[in-house]
């Protein structure tokens, strides 16, 4: 990790960036995000298998944008989130420096957007293996069993919206759940309202979820809500042969139409 620390220091010292977003170990050893603006503090940066949080979520926050130019420690999901945010015009590549980290933890030299593009191009973009297995298990259930499974899982939801807050693609300044004229999604946590919320969230991420799993990890009651969005990632790939976060220019599949699009899902 010395390379990462050296690079972070260098970027802060020569004022290329004003802040580095990465990971550090807290007093109890729990890994947490670090916002480092003083080069002297860069030594606390770590990168190991515990560093899973998708840091891209901070890039759209006004209070973070305010800090200046940002260097961000980026595993593949973070890089893909960045691509997605650029394509949805939420950030521009000029505002950031990507401190890319390869799957085996090595610091990559991401000199510009095209290098990052190249790295994404040669990576496996399908859902991570452990989630694929869970999805395959769920696929085996009958529709009735599936419904029961989700009913049970979702009944636990306390509508804290941590799943939303953790997702880089949930950057809306006002989420649909906060609209009360009309109140599309009921405020209470009840079977019906919870289902509404999760269907809505999944649909909003269809074709946009980059399979980081952060939403599921953030859930305080352990609902595997990431499986809903990841299932849609599969579906979108089946129909349109695209994965989210693969190009700065990509059009969202849900908002574009190509004459040769499959239409077999129209009933």
């Amino acid at each position: 990790m010395d390379n990462l620390i050296l690079r972070a220091k260098e970027l802060l010292e020569n004022k290329t960036v004003q802040v580095v977003i990465g990971y550090e170990a807290g007093p109890t050893g729990v890994v947490r995000p670090a916002f480092i603006s003083d080069p002297a503090n860069a030594d606390s940066l770590i990168y190991d298998e515990r560093c899973v949080q998708n840091l891209a979520v901070y890039l759209t926050k006004p209070e973070v944008k305010h800090l200046g130019r940002i260097a961000i420690v980026s595993s593949l999901p973070v890089m893909r989130s960045i691509m997605m945010l650029i394509s949805e015009q939420q950030i521009s590549y000029d505002e950031i420096v990507v401190l890319g980290i390869s799957a085996d933890g090595v610091l990559l030299d991401i000199a510009d957007l095209s290098v990052m593009q190249g790295y994404i191009d040669k990576s496996d973009l399908s859902n991570p293996v452990k989630y694929k297995e869970l999805l395959a298990e769920l696929k085996k259930l009958t529709p009735a069993e599936k419904f029961e499974y989700w009913q049970k899982e979702l009944s636990k939801c306390i509508k804290c919206y941590a799943c939303r807050q953790a997702c880089p693609m949930c950057y809306c300044t006002r989420c649909t759940v906060e609209v009360n004229q009309p109140q599309w999604i009921s405020v209470q946590s009840n079977a019906h309202g919870n289902m509404e919320w999760h269907i809505l969230r999944a649909m909003h991420l269809a074709g946009r979820c980059i399979s980081c799993g952060e939403c599921g990890r953030a859930c305080p009651v352990g609902i595997p809500c990431h499986l809903l969005t990841m299932h849609l990632t599969d579906q979108v790939y089946n129909y349109f042969k695209v994965y989210a976060g693969t190009s700065e220019k990509m059009n969202s599949v849900m908002s574009t139409y190509e004459p040769n699009d499959k239409e077999s899902f129209i009933v």
Binding site: E88, Y171, C172, T176, W184, P259
Partner: protein, 667 residues
């Protein structure tokens, strides 16, 4: 407080036969906020409308629900009645009791219950309606006609003669279209060129028409009255002003072996060419793909021989940016060629030709100077077979429709052949003879009775070559499906008419619909046959479906009238049922986060960007903004926007929600 008036229509018996209208009116009358509720036999009649106007005044109504037929039929009627009664017309809603209820259900209590429910949703909705004002947009009074066939020519002339400017875009080097290739025309057998060329010249000379040939539409933006069209004028490699049209270059060009498109490949042309003698404009173009200079870098003979030094080898394509108020699409059709027919040898046999090739053979200006000579050896065929419905009405070939013109031109071809080759025998295989039209059936009868053309009702299964002859095998269904075999010298296929190449691409640029065969789609098959579903874009001629000259010309004049009607106003009034993106106070400005997915989803390119700037001019936020001139109120963006930042006036989220809630709640 809301005071809603409800008017339940019997529609004669259309509604009252299955719905208890009295009960509907009574039940609705008891609802909260309903100040007046009544029933009447014909709400759309004069007394019916008066009922509404009077009730508005008498009961001080703040909203009206007319419970009658589909809003597609009478919404304008009732909105107008409300306006005359002193109520903003957009405070009037219709509950569709006819199409959505009485016509589709039997008479019983449930049907009446459903009618009540439908009316309740509209009562809840109209309470939330707001008074809207119509939108006014200016009109650019210049029309664009795309395609210079007879349909485009007719439309352009008609529009130009009303005093408006017309820009005509033709992609080939000359206007005229297919009609310029025809020999003589049914049902009168007058010479096609003779009736067409005066029109072509008129286009060229008309002070209100600007003609761009060798040009294609690059992109179309904007909306009715205000289109912005980019046109690519392909380089002709010629200074058109300097050229006098002497034609010396075309005679000296050493490259002479290029299949002549105008002659349907039955003649040759040079690389610098005028497609046909009467071409308009009568100026050559260099076909760069086949010109020796562009291929090998050497030649330039045309440049040397040109007396006015008009050749321009380095001329670039030119992009014109035009402001257009209305567009007439007249891009015509194409036909299938012999290579589409495996059963007839895939175009392998030289003496199996298509109808357009026959037109060229029969044409005095054609490659054989009007003598019917077969392509293989120039012999005059003694036995000729015409096969109608080649490809058409054949679902197995993917073309289920009738091409409409083939029956007639096949009769014409057989006749022309008999007039030219008196001793020859002409046979026609047909499925049915479709000769509806003024003097059309008489024309076919003439072919059969006076010119003794042998009509055989049945399909041809195969054509093959044996000893230099073409063997045509088919059945005669009028003789009990008896096998027939005709030994022919030449076979003419009346091949299916299909959409012109590039039609799909153009339709997408124009954002108009097309059918599964890529023909342009009309807005309504009966009542709006020349309109498209995009306001301000009209259809003329065979780009909509194969049609003959009289049909193409009448439709072209129809389209011209639509354009003239549009141009007779200085401003257009549009329904204000458009989307809006919300605005809030700084620093948010709007709940829109500027993802611009709505921009790509909008089928009408109605969504623009609006920047909010700080005092120092720095852009602090960019959000979506709807161009109300363009928005058609389809609501797609509303459904797509995740942050629910868009709403549709007249169909707002709160209104739709109220309708749904009304259905879920007891009353």
């Amino acid at each position: 407080m809301a005071r809603i008036g409800v008017f339940v229509c019997h529609c004669g018996e259309n509604i009252s036969a299955t719905v208890d209208c009295g009960k509907v009116a009574e039940t609705i009358g008891n609802l909260k906020h309903v100040a007046y509720s009544t029933e009447y036999k014909y709400m759309c009649s004069d007394p019916g409308q008066t009922l509404i106007k009077d009730a508005i005044k008498e009961h001080n109504l703040t909203g009206v629900v007319v419970s009658a037929c589909s809003p597609r039929m009478h919404e304008p009627t009732f909105r107008k009645a409300c306006a005359e009664g002193g109520l903003n017309p957009f405070l009037c809603e219709m509950a569709n009791l006819r199409e959505h209820c009485s016509w589709v259900h039997e008479k019983n209590e449930l049907t009446t219950e459903k009618a009540i429910d439908i009316v309740r949703t509209q009562v809840e909705k109209v309470k939330l309606n707001s008074a809207l004002q119509p939108i006014k947009v200016p009109v650019t009074k210049t029309a664009m006609v795309i395609g210079g066939g007879i349909a485009g020519i007719q439309s352009a002339l008609d529009i130009a003669n009303t005093g408006h400017k017309v820009i005509m875009i033709e992609r080939s080097p000359s206007i005229g279209g297919h009609m310029s290739q025809l020999s003589e025309t049914f049902p009168t057998l007058d010479c096609s060129q003779c009736i067409l060329t005066p029109r072509m010249v008129e286009v060229a000379q008309h002070p209100n028409i600007t003609l761009y040939t060798y040009a294609e539409v690059e992109s179309v933006e904007g909306f009715i009255g205000n289109f912005k069209v980019k046109v690519r004028k392909k380089a002709k490699s010629l200074d058109e002003k300097a050229c006098t049209g002497c034609g010396l270059c075309t005679t000296k060009c050493p490259q002479k072996k290029i299949p002549n498109e105008f002659e349907q490949g039955m003649g040759m042309r040079p690389a610098i060419y005028v497609p046909f003698p009467q071409a308009v404009p009568n100026r050559p173009v260099i076909d760069r793909e086949n010109c020796t200079y562009y291929i090998k870098g050497k030649c330039k003979i045309c440049e040397i021989v040109c007396p006015t030094k008009a050749i321009r080898f380095d001329q670039p394509d030119e992009i014109l940016e035009l402001e257009i108020g209305a567009i007439v699409v007249a891009t015509g059709f194409d036909i299938k060629h012999a290579d589409f027919f495996p059963e007839y040898g895939h175009g392998r046999y030289k003496d199996i030709i298509d109808g357009l090739q026959f037109e060229r053979l029969a044409s005095a200006s054609g490659p054989t100077a009007g003598v019917i000579k077969r392509p293989s050896d120039g012999e005059i065929p003694k036995n000729i077979v015409f096969i109608a419905c080649a490809g058409s009405r054949d679902p197995a070939k993917g073309i289920a429709y009738c091409s409409k013109i083939c029956c007639m031109y096949t009769a014409k071809h057989a006749m022309l052949y008999k007039h030219k080759v008196h001793e020859g025998k002409a046979h026609v295989f047909y499925m049915d003879i479709r000769s509806g039209g003024k003097n059309y059936d008489e024309f076919v009868r003439r072919a059969i009775e006076e010119d003794h053309v042998n009509y055989i009702r049945g399909r041809v299964s195969t054509v093959f070559e044996r000893d230099g002859k073409l063997i045509v095998k088919g059945v005669d269904t009028l003789l009990g499906a008896q096998q027939v075999e005709i030994v022919a010298d030449m076979v003419v296929l009346a091949t299916a008419g299909v959409a012109s190449s590039g039609a799909e691409d153009l339709a997408q640029k124009l954002h108009v619909s097309y059918d599964s065969h890529k023909f342009f789609a009309e807005a309504h098959p009966k009542l709006k046959p020349v309109e498209t579903n995009t306001a301000g874009i009209f259809l003329a001629g065979a780009c909509q479906n194969p049609k003959d000259i009289p049909d193409a010309v009448s439709q072209a004049s129809g389209a011209a009238v639509k354009v003239a009607a549009l141009f007779s106003q200085s401003e257009l009034t549009r329904e204000p049922l458009v989307a809006i993106v919300n605005r809030t106070s700084p620093p948010t400005y709007s709940t829109c986060v500027g993802c611009f997915m709505c921009q790509s989803v909008c089928p009408y390119q109605a969504i623009e960007r609006e920047e909010f700037k700080a005092r120092d001019g720095k852009v602090v936020k960019t959000v979506a903004k709807i161009n109300e001139g363009l928005c058609q109120g389809c609501g797609t963006c509303v459904a797509l926007c995740r942050s629910k930042s868009i709403d549709l006036l007249g169909y707002s989220n709160t209104q739709v929600y109220a309708e749904v809630v009304a259905l879920l709640n007891e009353y």
